[in-house]
C-alpha cells in the first residue's frame, strides 16, 4: 500500500468518528420494545449480563439483567451506552475499495472477496505461504476465533496469525501456565469477597473493570484489608488500607521484598510447599537478595510500605491476588506476574474458598479468544502448536494431514517488523486497530504503507482501516450469535438481537467465504455459530481448555459454565487447583525465581520522565467503538497528561496548559492535568485516541521475551510547555484526534 487514499480530515468527514448520542428515532420516540434480549456487554472481559431492547430490528436501549449472577444488573457507563452502535451513522454498510486520491468506493461482496483471495494466492505464490498474515482480536466470540485460526492453518496455511490479546493477556497467561499449569484465573469472583486480604497489583479496577469494585468492597465490608500497587492513586487506592505508589517497572521489588520479609517472619506455609510445589529453594535463594531496603530502591517506595504489605499479606487466613496490565505491560511482564503468583503459592492460599489468584482479563473475550487457535503458538483447546500430540489431535478433527498445519509463527509486534523488512507482504486484519493500539505508532503506520495488500474487517472505518485496500463491513456482537469466556473462565452466550445493517455480515461468514475461494470450502461448511461451537467443543476435547461438555442450552440454563468441562454431566470448574492439585504433569505448582531487571528504556538526562499509559472508564481500547458514542465522549472528550504539581512546577506547566510529550520515537501534544495523585517522576496519558493524541507515538517497541507483550507501561520522555496546535489534525473533533 501507499499513503492514505485521502487526507485524514476528508476521511473523518465521511467515515467519522462522529458522535451518536440518542437512540433510533430520538429520545422522544418512546414506546415499548418488541422484545428484550438477554445477552452480554460487548466490551471488557467481565462480560456483564445485559438486556437489549429491540424494536423493528433495531437496538433501541437497554434494561439491566438482574438475574445474571456475575453483575446482578450492574453496568459501567460503556455498558449502558453500548446499544448506540447498532444504528450508528458511521456503520460500514458495504465493502469498500481504496481509490487513490479519492478515499474509498463501495464494491460488492463478491468483488471484495475475489480480490482478497486472489491477492492471498498471488502473494503466497510469489513470496511463500507465511508472507500473508492474519490479525485477529480478543473481542471475537469463541466461534469467530476458532474459525479464523482454522482458516489460517487450513485454508491459508500461513504460520503468521496472531491477535490483539498479544497486547493484553499474554504475560499473565504465560506466568500462570509456568507456575500453576493453566492459563486462566484460578478462582471465581465470589472468592474475592471471602478473602481477608486482597492485593491489587497494577489494576485500575474502578476504570478498567468497574464491576469488580463491588466484589472488593464486599470483602472490605467483611473486614478484609486491601493493598493496592499503582503509580497513580486510583479510585480504589483512595480508600485502600495500604497504597504502594510503586515506580513503573518496580513491581518485583515489592513482590520479592514481601516474600523476603515473609520468610524471615515465618509467614509461609512450609507443609504446603513441601507437598505441592517444586522450585522453592531457588525462590528462597533469590529473594534473600531482596531485603526491604534494596527492594524499596527497586520499587521506588519507602521500605516501610513493603514491610507493611508483608505484614498484612503474610499471616492472613485467606487472601486473593488480582493483577492486570499495570504489571503485565512490561518487557519483564511475565516475570512480574510470576513474582506475584509466588506470593499466593508460598502461603498455600490457592485452590480454596477465599484463597486464590486472578488476572483481570481486559478484552471482551480475552480469555476465550486465546484458547481457540488464533494465538500464534496455540491450537484449539489452548493446545501447543509445536507439540506433536496436540497437532495430531487437531489434525484429526480438521481432517488434514498433521504436517500441513503450520508451526508457531510470529507474534504481533514481530509481524510489524516483518512487514518492514519485507517478509510479510499481505495482511488481513479483524477486530483490531493497531494504528492506535500498538506501541511506536509511527513505525506501525509506516508498515501499513509497505504492504502489497491490506484487508480490514470492522464495523467502522477505524484508523487502521484507512490504510486498507479492501474493507469488509462486519457485525457487532449483538448482530451475531456466539459464546465468550469471561474473566472468571465462565463460558457465556451472546444472543443475536438484530440482523447486521446494510450488507454487513458476521465475520465468520466472511472467513468461510474466503476459505471457499481458496479451495478449502469443504472444511468451512458452517451454517450457524452453533455448528461452529459444536466443532470447537470437539476440537477442545482433551485439551487444557476443554469445552466438550458445554452447550448453548447448558449455558442458558446455568448462567454460564466454567471450563474445563470435559463431559456432558460435568458441572464445570469454577475453582482450579483444589486440594493443591496443580495442572503440571507432576501435579505440583512450579515456583519460578525471578530477579528484577530494568525496563528497555529507563529515563535519562535527555528524556528524564517516565511515561505510563492506561485507560479511562468511559473509553474502550483503541476507541473505534467508544469514541463514536456521544455520552461517553462527553465524559472525557480528549486525553490529558496527568502530572504531579511538583513536576509541573519544575516544568513551568499550569493546569490545562498544552504540553508536548516527546520520546525518541514520536511525540504528542495534549493538555496537562495537574493532580497530586501520581508519582512526581511519572506522567500518565490514556491511550484511546489516535494520531497526534496517541501516546503510543511515544511508547517503545520492546517486548517481553516469553510473552511478546509490548512495554506500554514505561518509556522515557521529555515534556515541555507549548502553545495550542493549529494544524489540520488539531482542528479535528477531539474524538477524531483533534484537540481543544
Amino acid at each position: 500500500m501507499a499513503d492514505l487514499p485521502a487526507a485524514i480530515p476528508e476521511l473523518v468527514a465521511r467515515f467519522g468518528p462522529h458522535l451518536h448520542s440518542s437512540p433510533p428515532g430520538g429520545w422522544a420516540a418512546n414506546g415499548d420494545p418488541d422484545r428484550l434480549v438477554k445477552t452480554h456487554c460487548c466490551f471488557c472481559g467481565q462480560q456483564c449480563g445485559i438486556q437489549l431492547k429491540v424494536r423493528d430490528n433495531k437496538v433501541v436501549g437497554f434494561e439491566p439483567w438482574e438475574e445474571f449472577p456475575f453483575n446482578r444488573g450492574k453496568l459501567c457507563p460503556k455498558g449502558v451506552k453500548r446499544y448506540l452502535q447498532n444504528e450508528h451513522p458511521d456503520r460500514l454498510l458495504t465493502p469498500l475499495e481504496r481509490r487513490a486520491g479519492a478515499g474509498f468506493a463501495p464494491i460488492g461482496w463478491d468483488a471484495a472477496l475475489d480480490r482478497t483471495a486472489s491477492e492471498m494466492r498471488r502473494i503466497q505464490q510469489a513470496y511463500g505461504p507465511d508472507a500473508f498474515a492474519i490479525f485477529g482480536g480478543a473481542s471475537f466470540t469463541n466461534e469467530r476465533a476458532y474459525v479464523l485460526g482454522k482458516f489460517a492453518r487450513v485454508a491459508l496455511r500461513t504460520a503468521n496469525i496472531d491477535y490483539n490479546g498479544r497486547l493484553c493477556m499474554v504475560s499473565a497467561g504465560a506466568a500462570s501456565k509456568k507456575i500453576l499449569g493453566i492459563d486462566r484465573s484460578a478462582n471465581p469472583w465470589n472468592d474475592i469477597t471471602k478473602a481477608d486480604v486482597v492485593l491489587v497489583a497494577g489494576a485500575n479496577i474502578a476504570e478498567c473493570a468497574p464491576i469488580t469494585t463491588d466484589y472488593l468492597w464486599q470483602a472490605r465490608e467483611r473486614g478484609a484489608k486491601i493493598i493496592v500497587m499503582d503509580p497513580r492513586l486510583t479510585p480504589i487506592a483512595r480508600t485502600a488500607d495500604l497504597f504502594i505508589p510503586v515506580r513503573p517497572g518496580g513491581d518485583i521489588g515489592v513482590f520479592n521484598g514481601m516474600l523476603h520479609v515473609m520468610i524471615a517472619r515465618g509467614w509461609i506455609d512450609s507443609a504446603f510447599i513441601d507437598a505441592h510445589t517444586t522450585g522453592w529453594a531457588a525462590v528462597e535463594a533469590c529473594v534473600r537478595n531482596y531485603p526491604p531496603e534494596r527492594a524499596a530502591q527497586i520499587a521506588g517506595v519507602p521500605a516501610s510500605l513493603i514491610e507493611k504489605a508483608a505484614a498484612l499479606w503474610g499471616p492472613a487466613r485467606t487472601s486473593f491476588i488480582l493483577h492486570a496490565r499495570g504489571i503485565e505491560h512490561h518487557s519483564k511482564g511475565v516475570d512480574n506476574c510470576m513474582a506475584a503468583i509466588n506470593l499466593a503459592v508460598a502461603t498455600g492460599r490457592i485452590g480454596r474458598e477465599g484463597c486464590g489468584y486472578a488476572m483481570i482479563t481486559g478484552q471482551g473475550n480475552g480469555q476465550g479468544a486465546r484458547e481457540q487457535g488464533q494465538k500464534s503458538e496455540q491450537l484449539p483447546g489452548a493446545r501447543d502448536i509445536d507439540d506433536p500430540k496436540h497437532r495430531q489431535e487437531i489434525a484429526a478433527v480438521w481432517g488434514v494431514p498433521e504436517p500441513s498445519i503450520p508451526h508457531k509463527g510470529l507474534t504481533v509486534v514481530p509481524m510489524i517488523e516483518a512487514i518492514h523488512d519485507g517478509r510479510i507482504k499481505g495482511l488481513l486484519s479483524f477486530c483490531f486497530n493497531p494504528a492506535v493500539s500498538l506501541p511506536d505508532g509511527n513505525y506501525v503506520r509506516r508498515a501499513f504503507e509497505k504492504l502489497e495488500f491490506f484487508g480490514v474487517a470492522d464495523f467502522f472505518l477505524s484508523e487502521t482501516a484507512r490504510y486498507a485496500d479492501v474493507v469488509f463491513p462486519v457485525a457487532l456482537m449483538e448482530e451475531d450469535e456466539g459464546t465468550t469466556t469471561s474473566v472468571e473462565g465462565r463460558v457465556i452466550h451472546h444472543r443475536q438481537a438484530v440482523n447486521p445493517p446494510g450488507e454487513a455480515r458476521q465475520d465468520w461468514k466472511l472467513v468461510c467465504a474466503l476459505a471457499d475461494r481458496l479451495g478449502a470450502g469443504d472444511k468451512f461448511r458452517f451454517q450457524s455459530a452453533r455448528e461452529i461451537f459444536d466443532e470447537l467443543r470437539l476440537a477442545s476435547r482433551g485439551g487444557i481448555a476443554d469445552y466438550y461438555g458445554i452447550t448453548y442450552e447448558r449455558i442458558d440454563n446455568e448462567f454460564g459454565v466454567f471450563w474445563p468441562c470435559p463431559s456432558d454431566g460435568h458441572p464445570g470448574t469454577p475453582r482450579l487447583y483444589e486440594g493443591g492439585r496443580f495442572a503440571h504433569d507432576d501435579g505440583r505448582a512450579h515456583f519460578q525465581a525471578v530477579d528484577w531487571r530494568p525496563a528497555a528504556e529507563e529515563p535519562d538526562l535527555e528524556y528524564p520522565i517516565i511515561l505510563t499509559t492506561g485507560r479511562v472508564v468511559s473509553q474502550y481500547l483503541s476507541g473505534t467503538q467508544t469514541r463514536r458514542i456521544g455520552g461517553l465522549v462527553n465524559q472525557c472528550p480528549q486525553p490529558r497528561c496527568e502530572m504531579h504539581p511538583r513536576l509541573a512546577a519544575e516544568l513551568g506547566v499550569g493546569d490545562a496548559d498544552f504540553v508536548r510529550i516527546e520520546s525518541r520515537r514520536g511525540q504528542i501534544v495534549v493538555r496537562a492535568q495537574i493532580v497530586k495523585t501520581i508519582r512526581p517522576d511519572t506522567i500518565f496519558v490514556p491511550y484511546h485516541w489516535p494520531l497526534d493524541r496517541s501516546p503510543n507515538n511515544c511508547t517503545i517497541r520492546a517486548i517481553d521475551p516469553v510473552s511478546n507483550i509490548p512495554e506500554f507501561k514505561i518509556c522515557a520522555v521529555r515534556v515541555t510547555k507549548t502553545v495550542a496546535p493549529s494544524d489540520p489534525i488539531a482542528a479535528l473533533a477531539p474524538e477524531a484526534g483533534g484537540i481543544r
Binding site: 450492574k74 453496568l75 468497574p210 497504597f243 468511559s618 461517553l632 511538583r646 495537574i674 508519582r679
Partner: protein
C-alpha cells in the same frame, strides 16, 4: 423485612458515571440525566460523590415553590415539578440543601430525581442504583445494609442548627455516624474528616 430504600455510600464511589449515563435512559425523562456526580477537587483527590434527590420528609423545594408545583407522594417520594404549574423560577434549585433540582431552559421546567418512580412504584430498582458498579448507590432493605455493610445508615442531616430528615439514607463510617454539613471551612476548602492525604509525593517521603 422492611421496605426497600435508597442508600448512598460515598466511600464506595469510583466516579465512573454509570449512574449519570443510565439516568438519562429512564423512560420518564429520556435524554436528561437527573443525577449529579460531583468531582470534589481533582487536583487533590480522586474522590467523587453522587447526589440523587434525598426526598426530604419536609421538602424545602416544595415549601419555596410559589406555584405549588412540587408534590410528594404518599410513600414519600418528592416528584419533579408539575408541568402545568411550574413557572421556571428556580426557587427550588436555589433552596435545595443538596443542590438536586435542575432547571431546563428548553422546556422551561424544573425536573429532578424522582427515585425512578415509574420503576420503584412497580417493584423495580431505580436505574442508577441498579447499574452502579461499586454499589455506592444501592436500593435494598435496611436489614440488608446492616447485614452487609460495615458503615451505619443515617437519614438525619444537620445543617448548623437545622435538622433535615430524608427518605434516602447515607452510609457513614462507624466512627462518624452523623452528617454535620458544617465540615466545610469558611473559605470553601474541604476539611479532610479522616485526615487522609492523597498526595503521592508525601507518601513517597514515608
Amino acid at each position: 423485612m422492611s421496605e426497600l430504600a435508597f442508600f448512598i455510600d460515598y466511600s464506595r464511589c469510583i466516579g465512573c458515571q454509570a449512574c449519570v449515563q443510565a439516568c438519562e435512559e429512564c423512560d420518564t425523562h429520556r435524554g436528561r440525566s437527573m443525577i449529579h456526580l460531583e468531582t470534589i477537587q481533582r487536583r487533590e483527590t480522586v474522590q467523587t460523590a453522587p447526589q440523587v434527590c434525598m426526598h426530604c420528609e419536609d421538602p424545602i423545594c416544595a415549601q419555596v415553590c410559589p406555584a405549588d408545583a412540587i408534590k410528594k407522594t404518599s410513600d414519600g417520594v418528592v416528584q419533579s415539578s408539575l408541568k402545568p404549574r411550574c413557572i421556571g423560577c428556580s426557587n427550588c434549585v436555589l433552596a435545595c440543601p443538596f443542590g438536586v433540582p435542575k432547571y431546563f431552559g428548553d422546556i422551561d421546567q424544573m425536573m429532578k430525581c424522582d427515585l425512578c418512580y415509574d420503576r420503584t412504584s412497580i417493584g423495580k430498582r431505580p436505574m442508577c442504583a441498579t447499574v452502579c458498579p461499586s454499589q455506592a448507590l444501592s436500593y435494598t432493605t435496611l436489614e440488608e445494609i446492616e447485614r452487609s455493610r460495615d458503615g451505619v445508615p443515617s437519614n438525619v442531616w444537620r445543617f448548623g442548627h437545622e435538622v433535615v430528615r430524608t427518605k434516602v439514607f447515607v452510609v457513614l463510617p462507624r466512627q462518624a455516624p452523623a452528617v454535620h454539613v458544617d465540615v466545610l471551612r469558611g473559605d470553601g476548602s474541604v476539611a479532610h474528616a479522616g485526615g487522609r492525604v492523597d498526595d503521592v509525593a508525601e507518601m513517597l517521603n514515608g
